[in-house]
Each structure stands twice: as structure tokens, then as C-alpha cells.
Amino acid sequence: MKSAVVTFPASNCDRDMFDALEKITGQTPHRIWHQDCEIPDVDVIALPGGFSFGDYLRCGAMAARSPAIKAIRDHADRGGNVIGVCNGFQVLTEMGLLPGALMRNASLKFVCKTVQLKVENADSTFTNAYGKGDVIDIPVAHHDGNYFADADTLAELEDTGRIAFRYVNSSGEATAEANPNGSQHNIAGIMNKRGNILGMMPHPERLIEDAQGGTDGRGFFESIINTLN
């Protein structure tokens, strides 16, 4: 699987994403600098976590207007896969490639902890290595992960199986206590209609080795490999 990781100014999970892709795919990913107008031909482009442009404007808003964005959009339009984690998810909503917005956490505080996610759709490009209904551990670390969309959009996401992951407790229930940021419907990750773009707030790239406390994040990357094979 050929992949590429985009670096915006103050992306800070680009190395973690790069390492995870390299370890799991066995191939060295390409690097895309935010000012690159031409990008390599790859199977998946990853928009990593971080604080692009300091998050001084709305999170992801500046990055979504970077020179590299046009080529990334073209890649997606051709059906190429795009994943956005944390700040990358925010960039995808700012680009309009995914619906809704990520607002400030309901607690108004940054939150870093390992949460449980339920795999809501195990048939997608990004989730097929998991079983439907699996409860997995994945860390979150964000200040603005409170997913918001209007009622029609939420209904559409629910009805068309485009909610990839939901925050749940260890019994798999989407409770308010299990929701780290106030997201509507406990949404942790969503996909676009075509199914080639996914955005999620939790960080699967942080949990791919036993030494990190578990390997539940691997399935995310393995799913994409499965799809391409």
C-alpha cells in the first residue's frame, strides 16, 4: 500500500502517522509539505493530528486553504482514499469533504485519555478488519472534538452507515459518561458518501504496539490494506 502523510505548519502527529503506516504497510510513506502543489500517486493520503497554524483561527481552517489542498481534493475526487485524524478530521470538515464541524469540547478543556470506541460499520474501507460492534481502545487528545451536524445530516449519517466509530463505555453503550467531548450521537469518526474519506478524532496511530498499551489501532490501517488487496 502506497501512502503519504501531509505536514502543515505545527502538525505534530505527522511522525507518529508516518511511523504507523511504515510499520504496518511495510512501505515507507511519502511526505507532502503543505505548499506542494503536486503530490505523489498513492493509495491513501493521511492528514495527521496537531495544531496546524496554531489553531489560532478555527481548527483546520487555515490548513484547508493550503496550496496542497487542491491536489488532495483531486485525489479524493478520483476515488483515492483520504484519512484525517484529530486535526486532520477538522481539516476535512473545513475542506467540505466531510459534513459537520468539530466544536470546542463540552468541558471546555483539552482531554487526553484512552477511550472506548464501538465499531459501528465493519464493512468499510477503514473498518473491515474489525467486527461489527467490537469495542476497541483508542486514545483521544484534543480541545475541539465535539462533533456537530444538523439533524438531517445526522440522520443521513446514521441511516447510511457512515458513522464508523462511536464513543461507548466498556459494555458498548453510547452513554454521556463515555463521551469525552460532547459529540452529537457520541460520534467519534465518520465517512463520506462514497466511502473513500474518513475523519476521526481518536488516534489509532498511537496504539499499534504492545509497549504503547495495546494494538487496537492496527485494525484501522489493516482495513485499508485489506481493501486494496
Partner: protein
């Protein structure tokens, strides 16, 4: 500050000198060095360079006595940060620094820029920062400012560290009335570099260009170093303009740009602009290399209009660095900084005069020989009186509580012993994906990226011990980090110290300082644990009332094989629990006495350093051999709190039976005797571990097993782990939500 500073050439009166915090004798020394009266800009430069904060004039006589060398120490104190050899041509670079005064005045920015400053000290040397730690002290919880200060400091540390993408992996937070008027914010950073890619600040090469990179210079932070060298009074809040404002976005770009620059061979010397900004960076680089600097201040990137030389030289605007490049490499270097959208300006060059010469609008506004400015700064042997340690309290003289279990619940749910999860959840502690022991254990552990090695890091100090007996307290602070690092299985390597004290002009405070240094020296020597960097923060006083002496220690250890690491959480039901070390029920100066009886009295527990070493070396060897499944050192709150913390971390109960002999159970369980650990081991390994202990003369006792869901101590109490978790976890969230 009066209006006179706007004019570059006012008459230098005694009042103006005094206003700059310089004494009469210092004024005379200044005239002797210059051969004339200083200009205003020069007066400003002398005042910050000779401030307590930058010159260590009250402390250096004593600091010189600390052990700083070991075969594994590559650079000790004197550089931006200390450097140790961690094998394979790799080095760990670390330092801890205070940002106390600004954090009290403006907690968010004070703490944020504390993190930014310490990160720059580390990446200036060529290291990629891999971990942030901190040591925080606040006033009593019911002081009207404490909530505001705590929430601001935590948000500031998180706001900065999270954005730059360096994990904040742990630290300690205490509350005590002695910090009501002076909180302590001590930030530590650890970085990683290749040994052949370490950069120093000493400039060289006459004619080489001097480059300014990073953010523009503004009027923020002027006289910050001077502020940090004076006591607070009621009107200290008027000093808010001396607090700098942080920009972590720029810092992140600066880290990447500097590391990119340092991966080439263009750099001769590099220095961050920390306290006293452009002044201290240029003076240190020039005096360190025995050269002169001529700087054209018109070239300094400026954020505000009409800045004077005085303001530019004293500004503490953040995220700036000074670099000396090899000749003819300017364009290449500039391209790197342009790529990262950072300012880059050639502001001067190296000369052979030995002077710092400043030009502005065609005039020379300062011309100071740097060697005497840096090296002949005042050094005081301040008078001091020894702190007389209080008498030791006999455990039999402290009445038993009505119910030991209730006392334990009260303790684990107290301000000082409750969970810090509310704090560390606001820090990204996992970015960089190498954090293999999360906050909440004895030490944080981060992997050395791409290897199987790891660094264990712990910050510690027990100020109530230091107040009662600075010598024993100083020893204990060092020993506790050593134990915490050991308890993960790591070999303790070196420390950084952040020495927070009151007004050194008072002999009793100076006595605390001298006593603590004596303790540090003895502990570092016996434990072979040298001081490789540090910082001194004096004048932590308000209206003549000083803080408890707080020599905060940041210890770093190396795990050659990180798969051997253990945590405080025993994993397996049936594992045997052993108590290592001798328990004498030392009840004086303990958390028990403070929380349950509301008094802080008695001598602190004595620290037998030879015993520390013997017990710690034994425990570490057992961890390395794979015989131990969990380990926790015994410190605040004694054995009972330690057992409770292990049970909570594992979510498992314990059946415990203690052999307390003649010692009352509450003193045995809550006593804070040093050099002790609780370890868990598989049942089939227990006898071998006990035998191994006996062979090397280490005291060890089998005290119980992991079982069920209750912490059950025979003849003392039974408490469910859930009840402990509830008490431990609820204090801080409730307190911050004003529900307490």
C-alpha cells in the same frame, strides 16, 4: 519604571541605579569595568546580567560544591542544559527551570512561557524534545486565588506543550499555605540527540555572521529577570506587563527549523534568548567564546514601532534564537527559516574586541567588555544560620485514630494525596507515541524513539521535610527521585535541580539554602547521581514571608531494555506482596500528622543513603531479572497509601498481614521511613526474591497477596478498591468545580 527610560542618555543617578536593582558597590564595579559611567542601555544590560536570576550571585558559592561529574556526564552545568551518555552515540539532554514569579502574576502565560523556555534550552543544544515534566506548588486549597492559579497554570502548560507536540508525561502538584503568596511552577524538558550533533553556545570565528531567528521583538517581558529577583508586595500585580506572552505555534516551527538547520554543518554556535533576551544570549555567546559581538539594532526584527535599544536589549519576547553561522552559508540557512515562515535577520558579526558593541541609528549606544560582565559578576557569601532540626516524635506519643480505614480514606482523598488525573488529562501525554508509562506511576517512561531503550523521569521534593530540616530534606528530595526511577527498573543517571527559596538576604533563609545544598551534595555523591543542570529561584516571598524551602529535583534514568519495565499496578491475582526496607513507624513530619492531626511537627525521616543504595540496587536488579511484576516506592502517606495506590492502579484487592511488633499500627502503616518499596512477585518467584534479598542483607518481609476487590489489612481495616478510587479520584474534580 520612570519615564527616563525612553530617553537613551539620561543622567545615571544613584536613584536610577537603585531602580535597576543594583547596589552601590555593584555600581562601582560597573564603572570600574567600563572606565566610565554607563549609558542607559548599558545600565539595563548590567542590571539584568547581574540580577539574581541571571548571575546566581547569592547561590554560586554554594552551587560550586555540588557533584557534577561522572563518566556518563557529557556536559554538566554551564550549558543550556545538561547532557548524559545513554549509549549507541545517543545523549539525553535535560534541565528544569522555574517560572514562579510570572506564573503568580499571570498563570496561563507564566506557565506557558515556562514550558517554552525550557524546551528552547533543550533544542538549542541540538536535541529533539521528547518529554515535558513539571513540579507545581500552590497555596492552601481554600485560599481565594488557588483555584484560579491552578486552572491557569495547568491550562498554560497544556496549551503550550500540546501545541508544540511534546508530551507532558508527569510531574507533581502540592498545596501548602506557605505558597499562598508565591506559587512555584518548575518546568522540566528532556530531549534526545546524537552525541556528535550537540551544539554549544560559545561563539567563534572573527567576522562570522550573527543571525537572529524566530519571532519579532516586542516590549513584553522587559525586566522580567529583575522582577524574578525581588520579593512580592501587595502591588506586585502591577508587574503584569513584565510577563511574556507565549506563541507555541511559532515555537513548534522554531523547533523544526532549528533541528533542520542543525542537521547541516552551517552552525558555529547557537543560543536561545531566554531570561534577559538578546542581552544574555549575546553576552553568553561572546564571553563563552572569548570574542566580541557588534550588533546593529536597526536590523533586529521588531513587532512594535519606535523601540529603543534599551527596550530591545531587555525585551523577553519569546521564541527567539541567536545563531552564529559559518561564513557564506547565510543564504542556505535563510531558506530553511523562510520555509518555516520565521524571521531571519543578520544583525551583526563577531569581532576580536571582546566587547559587546551595539549600534543604533548610526550611533554606538553600548560598548561593554563581555568577559568581566559575565565572569566578574558579583558573588556574595551571604550570612546564614543553620536551621535547628526539631526533635524526633516518638510514635507512641501520637494517639491512634478512631478508625485506621477512615483515616486512610481521608488521606487518599486529601488535597495532597488525591489523584492528579484532572490535571494530566489536560496534557497530551501520548503524542510522539513513545510514552510507555503514563502519568500516575512512580516515574514516567518514554522510549528512545526507534530503539528498545527508554528514559524514566521523575520530579520530586518534600518541602515540609526541607522546612523542618533542610539537610535531611535535601537528601530526601534526591533520594526520592532516585527511588522513583529505580521503581520502574531504570538505572538512575543524573539530576537537574530547581532550587526555590525565599529571600537570601535573610540569614535563616540562606541557612535553609546552604543546608539543602549540603543534603543534595551528600545524596548525589553516595547515589552516584550527579547534578548536570539546574536553576535557582530566590526571593519567593511576599511581605517578608518566605515559601517552604523547595529544592525540586528532576531525575532521569535509563532502561536499556524497556521490555523489563514495571509499573505500580500488580497484574495477577495471587501475586505475593513483599515489603522491602525497614519500617520504624517514623511519624514526625508525615502526611498523616498533617492531614489527620492538622500539625506539621517533628523531625523528618532520616535518610540513610547507604541503605537507599543497597535497597534500590536490589530492587532494580530483581526487576531487571524479571522477578518482579510491580513495584512502588513508599513516600508520602507511608505503607498504607502505597498499598492503596497499587490496588487502585491494578483495580485489584490485597490481603495484607503486617508484622508491626511494638510499633502502633497507625505509625507503622502511615510512617514515612525512607529506603522502602512494595514489590509484587509471582508466587513461585517469591522465595527466590526473599533469598536474594537476604544474601545482600536487604530487609524484606512477605506481607500479603493480590486477591479480591478489597484492600484488607489484618487488625486494621477493610476497604473496597472502589471506595478508595472514589475518594482518590473525586477530590480534585469536585474542588475545581467548587463543590468543596
Amino acid at each position: 519604571m520612570t519615564e527616563t527610560i525612553w530617553n537613551n542618555n539620561p543622567e545615571i543617578t544613584e536613584d536610577l541605579v537603585k531602580e535597576h536593582g543594583l547596589s552601590e558597590s555593584e555600581h562601582e564595579l560597573m564603572i570600574k569595568i567600563l572606565g566610565r559611567e554607563p549609558s542607559l542601555t548599558e545600565l539595563g544590560i548590567f542590571s539584568v546580567m547581574w540580577s539574581e536570576h541571571c548571575s546566581y550571585k547569592s547561590s554560586k558559592l554554594h552551587l560550586k560544591t555540588l557533584p557534577t561529574k561522572a563518566p556518563w556526564v557529557i556536559h554538566g552545568p554551564g550549558e543550556n542544559a545538561g547532557v548524559i551518555d545513554i549509549g549507541d552515540n545517543q545523549a539525553a539532554i535535560f534541565k528544569m527551570e522555574s517560572h514562579n514569579h510570572p506564573s503568580y502574576i499571570e498563570p496561563y502565560q507564566g506557565a506557558a512561557t515556562g514550558v517554552g523556555g525550557i524546551l528552547r534550552d533543550v533544542f538549542t543544544m541540538g536535541a529533539r524534545p521528547i518529554a515535558n515534566m513539571n513540579a507545581l506548588r500552590f497555596g492552601r486549597p481554600d485560599h481565594r486565588k488557588t483555584r484560579h492559579l491552578l486552572s491557569g497554570v495547568v491550562e498554560g502548560i497544556g496549551g503550550y506543550g500540546n501545541c508544540v507536540g511534546v508530551p507532558t508525561v508527569g510531574g507533581e502538584t502540592n498545596f501548602h499555605p506557605s505558597y499562598d503568596g508565591n506559587i512555584l511552577v518548575n518546568a522540566m524538558a528532556v530531549g534526545l540527540a546524537d552525541q556528535d550533533k550537540i551544539f554549544l553556545s560559545a561563539a567563534a570565528g572573527v567576522g562570522n555572521p550573527v543571525i537572529y531567528v524566530g519571532s519579532k521583538t516586542g516590549r513584553d517581558g522587559i525586566h522580567g529577570a529583575t522582577m524574578a529577583s525581588a520579593e512580592f508586595t501587595e502591588d506586585s500585580e502591577e508587574k503584569r506587563p513584565t510577563v511574556q506572552v507565549g506563541d507555541p505555534f511559532t515555537e513548534k516551527l522554531l523547533i523544526e527549523a532549528c533541528l533542520e538547520l542543525m542537521s547541516t554543518d552551517m552552525v558555529v554556535a547557537i543560543q536561545d534568548m531566554g531570561a534577559a533576551g538578546l542581552t544574555s544570549s549575546s553576552v553568553e555567546m561572546a564571553s563563552g567564546g572569548g570574542v566580541g559581538f557588534t550588533l546593529n539594532l536597526d536590523k533586529v526584527p521588531q513587532r512594535e514601532e519606535h523601540m529603543t535599544p534599551y527596550e530591545m536589549m531587555l525585551s523577553e519576547s519569546q521564541e527567539r534564537m541567536l545563531v552564529v553561522l559559518k561564513p557564506d552559508r547565510v543564504e542556505e540557512a535563510e531558506a530553511i527559516f523562510r520555509k518555516w515562515d520565521l524571521d531571519f535577520a543578520v544583525i551583526g558579526n563577531i569581532t576580536d574586541t571582546g566587547n559587546l558593541t551595539l549600534k543604533w541609528q548610526g550611533e554606538t549606544v553600548a560598548d561593554i567588555p563581555t568577559q568581566p560582565l559575565a565572569d566578574n559578576s558579583p558573588e556574595y557569601d551571604r550570612p546564614w544560620v543553620k536551621t535547628e532540626p526539631p526533635a524526633t516524635i516518638d510514635p507512641n506519643d501520637v494517639a491512634a485514630p478512631n478508625d485506621i480505614g477512615d483515616a486512610l480514606l481521608k488521606m487518599v482523598g486529601s488535597a495532597n494525596l488525591s489523584s492528579r488525573e484532572w490535571i494530566w488529562e489536560q496534557y497530551d501525554h501520548q503524542v510522539m507515541a513513545d510514552t510507555i508509562q503514563l502519568p500516575g506511576g512512580d516515574a514516567a517512561v518514554v522510549r528512545v524513539h526507534g530503539t528498545n531503550k527508554a528514559l524514566a523521569i521523575s520530579t520530586d521534593c518534600t518541602p515540609r521535610y526541607c522546612y523542618a530540616d533542610p539537610f535531611e530534606g535535601g537528601k530526601q528530595a534526591v533520594a526520592e527521585t532516585w527511588r522513583n526511577v529505580t521503581a520502574t527498573g531504570a538505572q538512575p543517571m543524573a539530576i537537574t535541580d530547581c532550587l526555590n527559596f525565599g529571600n537570601p538576604e535573610r540569614p535563616d533563609i540562606m541557612g535553609q539554602f546552604v543546608g539543602a545544598i549540603d543534603g543534595l551534595r551528600e545524596a548525589c555523591t553516595v547515589l552516584e547521581y550527579p547534578v548536570i543542570s539546574g536553576n535557582v529561584s530566590l526571593y519567593n516571598e511576599t511581605n517578608g514571608k518566605g515559601i517552604h524551602p523547595t529544592p525540586a529535583i528532576g531525575g532521569v534514568g535509563l532502561l536499556k531494555d524497556s521490555s523489563k519495565m514495571v509499573t505500580i499496578a500488580p497484574e495477577n491475582e495471587g501475586d505475593v506482596i513483599l515489603l522491602v526496607g525497614e519500617s520504624n513507624g517514623h511519624i514526625g513530619c508525615t502526611q498523616y500528622l498533617s492531614i489527620i492531626e492538622g500539625r506539621e511537627e517533628g523531625a523528618p525521616p532520616p535518610v540513610d543513603l547507604a541503605l537507599e543504595k543497597k535497597n534500590g540496587d536490589f530492587v532494580r536488579a530483581q526487576i531487571q531479572n524479571g522477578n518482579i511484576s510491580a513495584c512502588h516506592d513508599i513516600s508520602d502517606g507511608g505503607l498504607f497509601v502505597t498499598l492503596a495506590e497499587m490496588a487502585m492502579a491494578a483495580g485489584k484487592g490485597m490481603d495484607i498481614a503486617l508484622h508491626n511488633g511494638d510499633i502502633p499500627m497507625h505509625a507503622y502503616g502511615f510512617g514515612e521511613d525512607q529506603a522502602r518499596y512494595v514489590i509484587a512477585t509471582a508466587p513461585q518467584e517469591a522465595d527466590a526474591v526473599i533469598e536474594a534479598a537476604e544474601e545482600v542483607g536487604v530487609s524484606v518481609a512477605r506481607i500479603g497477596v493480590i486477591r479480591g476487590q478489597d484492600l484488607d489489612v489484618q487488625d486494621a481495616f477493610t476497604i473496597s478498591v472502589d471506595e478508595l478510587l472514589d475518594a482518590h479520584g473525586s477530590w480534585m474534580p469536585k474542588y475545581m468545580a467548587k463543590e468543596l
